[in-house]
Point group: C2
Chain length 345, copies 2
Amino acid sequence: MAGMKEVARHAGVSVSTVSNVINGRHQKMAVETLNRVNEAIRKLKFTPNSAARQLKTGQIKTLGLIVPSVANPFWGQVSHLIETAAQKRGYQVLICNAERDPVVEARYVESLFGSSIRGVILGSSPESFDYLKEYADKGMKIAAIDRDNEGTNGVIACSVSINQLVGSRLATRHLIGLGHKRIAFISGPIGTNSRVGRLAGMNSELEKAGITPDESLVWGGRNVSTFGDFRAAEIGRTAIRELLTLDNPPTAVLTVNDMYAIGACAGARELGYSVPEDISVIGFDDIMMAEVMQPPLTTIRQPVAQMSEIIVSKLIETLESTDEVIEPHVEVSAELIVRASTRQL
Amino acid sequence: MAGMKEVARHAGVSVSTVSNVINGRHQKMAVETLNRVNEAIRKLKFTPNSAARQLKTGQIKTLGLIVPSVANPFWGQVSHLIETAAQKRGYQVLICNAERDPVVEARYVESLFGSSIRGVILGSSPESFDYLKEYADKGMKIAAIDRDNEGTNGVIACSVSINQLVGSRLATRHLIGLGHKRIAFISGPIGTNSRVGRLAGMNSELEKAGITPDESLVWGGRNVSTFGDFRAAEIGRTAIRELLTLDNPPTAVLTVNDMYAIGACAGARELGYSVPEDISVIGFDDIMMAEVMQPPLTTIRQPVAQMSEIIVSKLIETLESTDEVIEPHVEVSAELIVRASTRQL
DNA sequence: ATAAAAAGGTGAAACGTTACACAAATCCCT
DNA sequence: AGGGATTTGTGTAACGTTTCACCTTTTTAT
């Protein structure tokens, strides 16, 4: 409530000087003056008014983070990690849940832009980011986690992800090595870059092993688009039901994330199948739950802590430096974590 | 980037008029003028600059939400629900992870206050809120979810929660009805209002059934205080290990939240016990995972959607109306959800 | 001794809104 | 016709910072 004016009066200097102190521009300042100002700041419990500062400078140290849903543990964890990483660098994070809906995402970006925020991290990975081009053109820097920056028409300023193909190849190879030939793929709508990539990775590995991919084994979330990620496990459950009642059911299933895998396990059990005796299940992400569930879930781990650090530092770099960011996309390694939900056929 | 000035010029009116339109003060305004202004707003894609508005009015439509950790699915879900509820009322939500650390919480509140935010929802429920009194005095309205407002020294403006005692009594009665007599209690540090209440509820129900509570059966998170909620399941796992290796181990366990229950199930299995055959486990919260895990978890459901709605509307009411809020604390009902992790002894 | 440069500070306009007191035009009543 | 009400709108001073040109005093070089 005390402003710079009072501080200035207390310290016997001008507001400009106070401003200089606050912003660390004291290279050319008598140390005695500096002390007096700091003293006054302390005594008056002065806190800079961020609205005024923002209005004046047109920018603030806040990043937007748009995720499908923080109610999904994977994104919950990522959100937390990103917040921590940003905070280390003096930035705050505004978390938004967009349910993978481009319209909602655009609305959020609009609102963030209106709040002078110029950096946003996207957790969804649509195939095209055209609906955000308008903001990119206006100066919004958009970062993507979980996809690369190819084919994004310049909308994505920087990105980090595992190599989706490699990830699902790892999973598929594991399953094939276990003797599985009929491998299903469970996903919500396959309309995102990462899902398309993971499916492609599975198919290519299948073919490499001389197995012809069976279209009827890929479950692509028909009629579930409204679920968002809010009831993610539900999708896995529905999917496995349909898959298991097929004439020629799969013996193993690869899901596009761990929540689906957890749902799939539950669904399989409800049908009287047991995991991994009757069907092997392999997830994707390696959320914390994966290790403690029953059976512990075999999965592909994404190094989320590392990814969060990288995307935050890249984005801030983009925001703060004028010259082009080198290496706009960085790829991190996925890792196969073998636990008990998969086994030899 | 177009400001009200341009809009005014385009519509041939003054900025005051534009301001009136934006703020819905068009009761006394020629409809034709109104249309002209709206048209100009649309054409210029004008978005009010929230920094300027905030600077001027000294307030913004943003709520702070401080949770232990959004990486914990329970709080992830609550965050999402609160965000949705706030949005319906035109408010944004700033989510902060404080790991139940009063120092971190106070720092967040300070920072929120510095951003002119005057309403904050606390997810933690310490026994005392004295460390926030300073901000309450300065005018910050603090709401609590998961505890009542008694003994908070006027710091808490409004609150919502289940009746903690009733919740754990429900659970305990269920266990006793199943024939259990040695019932353990698993919790992180029992230093929060809700945990104290839940333990008290269990003990009172035990006594009512003529069972003397056994101190050695309450596991209160010694040496795990640094965990925060980040690896919540780990706590349950550690706890059950110690409990099960006691000379006279429990036959049932009540955990203070579902994540601990999940960890406890995992830990029990690792020791060769199976749930519910060898030990019954009952959780608290009813997170989504509870239903799909194996075995499906018996638990006490908190009506989180309802709680979120209530706390948001109460807080906004507190913020917007001048007179005292009626019924500052509202209590919602906990519900016993019987699934498969508990059974007859 | 003098000019130039460096050091240490200052003044005031702007950023984009809001809100209040006031102005002009029109209407209504007696 | 006169005068108050009513309707519809406007001018402008803040809000609390930042920034940049500029001012004064001291130091240094010649």
